[in-house]
Amino acid sequence: MKFLSIAAFTSALILGGHSAVSAQERGGVMTYGRYTDCLFLDPVLNDANVDIWILTNIYETLINPTDDGLGLEPGLATEWALSDAGDVVTLKLREGVKFSDGTAMTDDDVVWSLNRAKSPDNGIWNFMLASVDTVTATAPGTIELKLKYPDPTILSALSVFNSAIMPKATFEASAGATDAEKAQEFAKKPIGTGPFMLDSWDRGASMKLLKNPNYWDNGADGQPLPYLDGLTFEIIPDDATRILKLQSGDIDGAEFIPFARVAELKADANIKMELFPGTRVWDIIINVRPELGGNPNPLSDEKVRQAMNYAANKEALVQVVTFGVGTPLSSFMSTTTPMHSGDGPLFPYDLEKAKALMAESGFPDGFKTSILTIAGNQDDLGITTALQQMWAAIGIELEIKQVDNASRTEQYRAGTFDMRTGGWTNDIADASQITSYFAYSPTIDALHSGWKNAEVDELFEASQKEMDVAKRTAQFARIQEIFNVSGPTIALYETPYPVALGSKVNGFVQIPLGNNIFRETWLAK
């Protein structure tokens, strides 16, 4: 057992970090403008970013992701250890943690929460804890997870929202016969250990959170966190209205600023235009099945795909679509993903090379194909109209098909599409999730593209059991090398999260996984 004594290290880090910041002020209610409302405040049964990115303010996990999204830091557990064989996790629980209703967090709550999160009957995130066999409290305040097999991702998985700790007794006392029914009742008035608790929720209009008076952690001034008395989410779906409300001082922050408005808001002296590093990648997903609708599929030709890659000027797309906010991708995963590898842009623009590759391919005279985009989505439209022109230069005639999201998902899942615009953000600080969906064919046929590479599949399976960090990094490097050259995507660019804040707002962060962290946010008077 190699016990990492993280507590001492972290407290030094926190103290050190805080002394550099100017004095935090307490009090006030921050109003944050969101483009859409939460759907379901259950950490295990939710299925959308609109919930995930907010949940950590109400419910907390044993381990937390660091603000840079690459590492781990103590949460409701103060220290943890993974056995040398990689099949037992031991966690020491933080003492004195209370839920927002004042009841103490018990070992029983932790065991029950993790068992609920790993149950295959519950939600769509249980795969994160698929390696967990049993969860037991071996001594007061000590939790042991026995794994079915060595799992290098288990510590990161324990920092993901679905492993959050909930109060067993209150949950089970909720009305309803099944777990799903109880969850619906419980989520109306959720209780967690997070810095905030739900006060009222006017669906589609606003969600009001109040500071949790029982929160366990202290701020830089030695008083309990959070600094804010309350936090209100206002739902303002229209981008222009959301920005107008921020500029007029009605709200203190606004999420999802359109790239086109970033430069203008940067120049506004009353606004802090933040670009938080994200794990958001943008790409084109290509169906590479040899036949589509009974006809030979030119997109199955690797040379064709490489020609399309060289002909797609990503630097130009970054300028045109993201107004310079994005960065061309150097791998299919973002640079903020642990074990990302690759330096320099993939397939730098080279029209001559593209033409030469087309001439060598099975389709030297070009062909007609199509791409599915979301109707009304400006980013999608910008990307595809630019690609239409860029690919015309190598004889590819691109038809842009605008549909609604559910229609696109249906064609995508059925594998009947030619191409589609794609996007991704990580939920876990590990390379495995994105790789599993993008490259490992058993999960979803490599983005439903029909692409399959035996070496990638083998490497991925090995990486899921490899406890040696260096070896695992090498495995992911090789997977990225193969996928980036011959895979079923055109990797375009990665973008940060554009958030605009009022000048009084301090200490807010959106981490690369997308979570909005208001724990140490404060308003200057």
Partner: protein, 312 residues
Amino acid sequence: MHLASFIARRLLQLIPTLLFILIMVFALVRLLPGDPASAMLGDRALDADVARINKELGLDQPIVVQFVVFAKSVATGALGNSITLKVPVAELIATRLPITIVLTLMAALIAVLLAVPLAFVAATRRGRMADSAVRGAFQVGLSMPVFYLGLILLTVFGAQLRWFPVGGYGDGFLDHLHHLFLPALTLALSLSAVLMRNLRAAIIEVIDAEYVQFARAKGLPPGLILLRHVLRNALISTVALFGLSIGTLLSGAVITETVFAIPGAGRLMIDSIYARDYPVVQGLTIALAVLVSLTFLLTDLVQAWLDPRVAR
């Protein structure tokens, strides 16, 4: 007695209409590509999860069984549970439809208050400056897209002059009305243009009618003539048009509610269609159908009052 049987007859006619809508909406949401589970789980959904959730939702049942479940939920008034929001549909409609109704009513009121006096001014000064000015201004109102008009009003009267809030819905009844004024005005402008043109033409038609000339010859005061003889007769066709426009106003509310960040039924409908939230789309469509049908009934009653021949 005439009126009572008229109302009863119309309410009876409502039953087959609603039955038809019930079947149509049930079939139409299922004809949309995609299904609730994959819409909800998105691009990353695994086949097993999609199948499991569709089963939980009862969508693996034969279509007839699903319809019976749906019809029962309508009959009890509960309308089932929202798939995405996990709350009863009746509860959602009860909180969000009233907002849209108040918005629509306010818009209708503003439209009438604008259209009627201006139609009089335009009609009585036919071909003169005032007439051209009124008609020109309304032409602009009619041709401007709702979202653009809304954004201009928000910027000028909200952000700059601060007379009204910059979107949102506020707390408390008076605050709600304050928040709803600009969106209602946005909706009202294009409707009032239509009403104004119709009423102006009707007034011009009536104003030269023999009975009006006769009233004038009798020496009745001009104000009384306008109110009792001209307006009452000119309004008949405009009231019909107004009733028909309520449906248009309700659909205009979808865009207005988005621009002004109002948590009404229009936005709920759009979100639910995108999410393939069948119970909400079904429930809301039925509620809106009832609402529009009642509006038509009310329109007919007003027309009958203006022109008793209508009720016969």
